[in-house]
Amino acid sequence: MTGYDATLPRSEADVVIVGGGIAGCALAYHLAMAGTDVLLLERGSINREASGTNAGSFHLQLAIHQLSGKGTAADHDRLLADARLSLEADRLWDKLSGELDGDLGVHRTGGWMVAETEDQLRTLYEKHELEEQAGIETEVVTGAALRSRAPYLAGNLLGATYCPAEGHANPLVVAPLYAKRAQEAGATIATGVEVTGIDRQPDSAGGRFVIRTSGGDLRAHRVVNCAGAWSGRLADMVGLRFPVRSEGLHVNVSERRPRMFEPMIQHIGRRLTLKQTEVGTFIIGGGWPTGTSTHRRYPTLWSSAAGNLAVALDVVPTLADVRIVRTWSGVIVFTDDFSPIVGESEQVPGFFACVASTGFTFSPLLARQLAERMLDPATASGFPQRYSLDRVSH
C-alpha cells in the first residue's frame, strides 16, 4: 500500500480524481455508484493526510474560523449560507454509516462554544440568531443555568451556545470505507502515484487531458482536484490560481481518564477544540500551528502545546493534572475567502475541484453535490458563484 513508485493500472479513464482523502474517496464512491468510469490517484496512501489526521469533529456551529474578525454583520449572507450547509451536512452524517454499511464511529455528543468576554457573548447571540434562521438548533446558556448544565466549565465563563447535533466520527475509517465501497462499485484506486503535470488537449477525441504521473501518462476526459492542501499546486498545472494556503495544525492527546464530560467544547474567541473520546483520552487542538522541518513532515511545536493547553485549562480547570502523552499534527487547507472551491472551471472545461476547509465535516456533502452536478449538469443545481474555481484567475 505504501511505496511511491507504483505503476498505473490503466492508461485512460473518463474521470480522474486526484487525492485520496475524504473528498476524493467520497466523490469516487458517488460517481462509481452511478456507473461512471473513475480512476482515483493518490500520491501516498489513502487517508494519510488531513482526512485521517484531523480530530474527527463535526463543526456545525458557526465558528471562529468562519468569522472574518468583523463580527457577523459584515458577512451575514455568507454565514447564513454556511449555516444552511451545516444543516445539510448534519443530515448526511446521520445516514452515512447506514449508506456505507459500516461503523463510522458517529457520536452525537453535543457541543459547547464558550465566551469569556462581553464581546464574545454578543457574538454568540448573533450567531445563534443566524443559526436559528438557517434551522440549526442551538441555544445560548448563561449564568446559573450554564453552571448546572456544565459544571466542568470554568466559573468565570460568561456564557456558551449549545448545539445538540455536534459530535464526531472516526476519521481513521471514513475515507477508507468510502474508498472500499467505491472499488466495489467499479472505481479504480491507485496509490503511490504522484501527478507531476497536466496537459490540456481540448480537441483530442481520446480525452481532454493528458496527466503526467510518476507511474506514466494517462488520458482523461475530466479531472477532479481533490488534493486539499496541495490543490493549489494541482490547479497551477492547468493555469488556474486557487485562493488557498496550507498550514500544519498541532493536536495534543492525553492519557485515558474516567468520563469527565460528553460534549465537544470550542471557544468563540480563542483557539480551542476539546473533547473526550470514547476510550477516555482528551483530544485538544483548535488551530495552533506546527513548525516547518525537513526531517519530519509536520513537527509539533512546544509553543503550540503551551498556548493551546492554556486555553483548555482556562475553559476546563479540572484538566490540570491530566497528562499529555503525545502530540500529532496534520496539514489543513485554508481558503482565503472562507468559501470552499467546488464545481467545474469555466476557463478550463473538464477541470473540476472539491476543496474545503473544515473538510471532514463538509467534504462528504460537497462531494455528493459535485457528483450530482457531474452526472447530470442539466438538472442538478449549480454552486454559488463564491465557490468558483476561477474566482481569482479572472
Binding site: M1, E247, W302, A306, A310, V322, R323, F338
Partner: protein, 487 residues
C-alpha cells in the same frame, strides 16, 4: 523562546556516558547542565540505593558499584550543574543551538537553551513478547536489578531466569549472591566452543577485567548450583493471575523453539533478560539518522568518530547509541565531551585528538572483544516470534498479536497499524511494542526489520500534566486570519 537559562552544553542522562561527557565539558570551562530523571546520578548500571537507604559498607555491593560510586562523587564535586528528577521532554532546533523543555516532577516545565546537546539516554531491557509476559511475577532483568539495588527487595521465591548475552551469565550470578533461589538459568545462545575460546583469547588484550568477571560469574553459578542451560528459550508463563509455571524449549540457530522439546518448571518469578535496547525517543525526535544492528539492541544512531550525530550540534554516547556496556559508555562520553568542547572553539583540534586517543583505543579493544563473542551473543529473529494470537503486544492499549496481524496483512506502514489498532498510542509511546510490531510487519511482507520506518516521533517523550505545559503568555498565532486584502 527559552526561559533565560543558557548553557554551552546540555547533557541528557546521568549514567556513565553522561557523567563522563558532562565532566569533560565542564572541566574545559564550559557551562554545562546534566539532566537525569532519577533522584541520583549513576544511571541504571551504577544505580545507587534509594532515598532512605544509607550505605555503611560498600564492599558487598561489588566492585562495579564502588567504581560507580566514586564516579558519582567526582561528578557531584565537579563544576557540572545538575537537574535531577528531570526529564527532557522536547527539543527544538534554533539557529545556533537547541531549546530543550525540562520537566521536573510535576512542576511547571521550563525551557533552556544550549549551544550543544550530548544525548546519553542509555538503554532499557529489550522488550520480549510471549504468552503470559504480562502476568504478575514476570519481571525484566533491569526492573529486578532496580528493586535489588535501590530497595534490597526480591519479589519472589523460586525464580527462572531466561535471557541471552553477557547478562545471562552475570545477572543470575549476582542474584544468587544476593540469596535468590534460581531454579534454572536459560541462555538462548550456544555454549562457548573451542573456537570461541580461541577468539576470546585473541581479544583478551585490554579486556581481562571483563573476562575475569565472566569467569567469576560462571563460578558463582556453579557454587550456587544454578543449572545454566544453553540453547533454550522462554516459551510461555502460566498461572492463575500470577506466574506459577514457566515453559521453556530448545531453539534452533535463529532462536525458533523446536517442537517436542518443551519443559515445564514450577516458579513464582520469571526474570527476562534478553539484552538491552537503546532508548531512542530523543534521538528520533531530533531527526538523527540510524543504522540497525540487533546485537547492539536494534536501531543504532549514526555517528562520526567524534560521536556527532547527523543532526547539527547534537552528539550521542553510551548504550543509547548501541548497547556496549558501561566501560565503552564512559570512554564515548569523554570523546563526545571533547568534541563538544572542540566544536565550541574551546580546544584546538590537535589537542582534542590527543586527549581522545586513549579512550578511542580502549573502545577499539572492546569492539574486538564484541566481535569475538558475536557467535555466542547473536540475537536470533525468533525472539520476536514467540507471541500467539491472543498474546497482548501493546499492553497500554491492550492490543493482541491477532488484532495486529489482521491489520498488518493489509499494510506495511507502522503508522497505519498504529492508527487502526491504537497499538503504541498509550503512555509508553510504543517503547515496548514497536520493535515487535515492526518484526511482525517484516515477516508478513518479507521486509528486512532494519528498513521498516518507525512511526513519527512525537513530543512529549514522557507524559506531562497539562498544568505543567500550559502557558498563557503564548497567544493565538492567527492561523485562521485571512491574509490582508481579502474580506
Amino acid at each position: 523562546m527559552h526561559d533565560g537559562e543558557r548553557y554551552a552544553v546540555l547533557v541528557v542522562g546521568g549514567g556513565p556516558a553522561g557523567m563522563s561527557a558532562a565532566m569533560t565539558a565542564a572541566d574545559a570551562g564550559l557551562r554545562t547542565l546534566l539532566v537525569d530523571e532519577r533522584p541520583t546520578l549513576g544511571g541504571q548500571v551504577f544505580k545507587q540505593p534509594g532515598l532512605g537507604f544509607a550505605v555503611t559498607d560498600g564492599r558487598p555491593l561489588g566492585a562495579q558499584w564502588r567504581y560507580g560510586h566514586r564516579m558519582v562523587q567526582r561528578a557531584e564535586g565537579s563544576a557540572v550543574m545538575t537537574a535531577m528528577r528531570t526529564a527532557v521532554i522536547d527539543v527544538e532546533e534554533q539557529r545556533d543551538g537547541w531549546n530543550a523543555v525540562l520537566a521536573t516532577d510535576d512542576a511547571h516545565t521550563r525551557t533552556v537553551f544550549a549551544s550543544r546537546v550530548i544525548l546519553c539516554p542509555g538503554a532499557h531491557d529489550r522488550p520480549i513478547v510471549f504468552p503470559g509476559w504480562t502476568l504478575p511475577g514476570v519481571i525484566t532483568a533491569g526492573g529486578l536489578q532496580s528493586l535489588v539495588k535501590t530497595q534490597r527487595f526480591m519479589p519472589g521465591r523460586r525464580m527462572v531466569f531466561a535471557g541471552s548475552g553477557p547478562v545471562a551469565l552475570a545477572f543470575p550470578a549476582q542474584l544468587a549472591e544476593f540469596g535468590a533461589d534460581i531454579v534454572v538459568a536459560l541462555e538462548a545462545g550456544p555454549a562457548p566452543n573451542a573456537a570461541d575460546v580461541a577468539r576470546l583469547a585473541g581479544a583478551a588484550a585490554g579486556n581481562l577485567d571483563l573476562l575475569i568477571d565472566a569467569a567469576r560469574y560462571r563460578a558463582g553459578l556453579l557454587r550456587h548450583r544454578v543449572p545454566l542451560r544453553y540453547r533454550r528459550i522462554i516459551v510461555r508463563a502460566e498461572g492463575d493471575r500470577r506466574v506459577e509455571r514457566v515453559v521453556h524449549a530448545a531453539v534452533d540457530a535463529d532462536w525458533r523453539p523446536i517442537a517436542g522439546t518443551e519443559e515445564t518448571v514450577a516458579a513464582d518469578l520469571l526474570c527476562i533478560g534478553y539484552g538491552f535496547a537503546p532508548s531512542l525517543e530523543l534521538l528520533r525526535l531530533i531527526g538523527a539518522g540510524f543504522d540497525d544492528d540487533e546485537a547492539l539492541g536494534g536501531p543504532t544512531v549514526r555517528r562520526d568518530r567524534w560521536c556527532r550525530t547527523t543532526a547539527a550540534r547534537i552528539y550521542a554516547a553510551g548504550d543509547g547509541t548501541g548497547v556496549e556496556g558501561s566501560k565503552v559508555a564512559i570512554d564515548e562520553g569523554v570523546v563526545a565531551g571533547l568534541a563538544a568542547v572542540m566544536d565550541e572553539g574551546s580546544l584546538p583540534e590537535e589537542k582534542a585528538v590527543a586527549a581522545a586517543a586513549p579512550a578511542l583505543r580502549r573502545i577499539r579493544r572492546r569492539r574486538a572483544l564484541a566481535r569475538a563473542t558475536a557467535r555466542m551473543y547473536h540475537v536470533g529473529r525468533g525472539i520476536y516470534g514467540l507471541a500467539d494470537e491472543s498474546t497482548v503486544v501493546c499492553r497500554c492499549e491492550e492490543v493482541t498479536a491477532g488484532d495486529l496481524a489482521h491489520v498488518i496483512a493489509t499494510t506495511d506502514d507502522i503508522s497505519v497499524v498504529k492508527a487502526l489498532t491504537r497499538a503504541g498510542m498509550g503512555p509508553c509511546q510504543g517503547r515496548y511494542c514497536s520493535r515487535h510490531i515492526s518484526a511482525m510487519i517484516g515477516r508478513e511482507h518479507d521486509i528486512a526489520l532494519a528498513t521498516i520506518a518507525p512511526s513519527t516521533p512525537r513530543m512529549p517523550v514522557r507524559p506531562v500534566p497539562i498544568a505543567a505545559i500550559a502557558d498563557r503568555a503564548v497567544t493565538d498565532p492567527g492561523l485562521f486570519t485571512a491574509p490582508s486584502g481579502n474580506p
